[in-house]
Symmetry: C2
Subunit: 156 residues, 2 copies
Amino acid sequence: MVVLGLDPGLERMGYGVVRREGSRLTAVEYGVVTTPRVETPARLCLLYDRLTEIVGRLQPGAAATERLFFAKNQTTVMDVAKALGVAQLVVAQAGLSCREFSPPEVKLAVVGNGAADKRQVQFMVQRLLGLAEPPRPDDAADALAVAIALALRPPV
Amino acid sequence: MVVLGLDPGLERMGYGVVRREGSRLTAVEYGVVTTPRVETPARLCLLYDRLTEIVGRLQPGAAATERLFFAKNQTTVMDVAKALGVAQLVVAQAGLSCREFSPPEVKLAVVGNGAADKRQVQFMVQRLLGLAEPPRPDDAADALAVAIALALRPPV
């Protein structure tokens, strides 16, 4: 089973693709889709194209994203929500289910503790995937954590 | 000049297409794209397909949407923001600019008063477009108001 995890953002969207074979997890690919500082609709276009390419090439069987919460900066959250909408669109167009996990759900699945700190999560992501180094940058590590949470959950 | 106005929503997205010839405005088409109560990604897919069809068929030269503000119901606003992201994507994929107007900007353009009430706006939308009846439903009327605001503004 191959799954896609996404850490939504308009300027930077982390993605991580994880394969599960029995209890063994491996990272297929991870990284960050970045968009230049142009108008939001043009950024959404770039995001759509890149995510469509990634989904088409790596052929995950399911996807999940981090659930958004409202923060202090309303403009930023609105932009992230638009980017999340485009990500969910791409996933649905590929015929995949797309779950949303809250940050505590991701932490619980990866570390066994819903209140774990970022460093613990990154440590366990590296360990569970058998990576030689902690995954970088943070957006990609967060996306891999989401993918692991999805891979380890029973199917819906 | 033909322009598209959108009143964003996930369950109901109003659209209105207005033609301007000199100072004369006419409604080319208006209505509401509705999505059934399925999962959000599937709704975004339907929205994408319908909006792409509308833009392809009516060939507007520019587009605008209402700008979103945070309301009490966070889940609803998040869904509307996702839908707005998909709408902006469709518009950008068609090579069109996509402005965002605040509700007072729309009212100012249509009624000449940024604090005008909904009924005044609907009255002026009907009048400016020479419609026999007030446009219905409200989402479509709001979208037409956005289109009028765009049509009456000097090009960027």
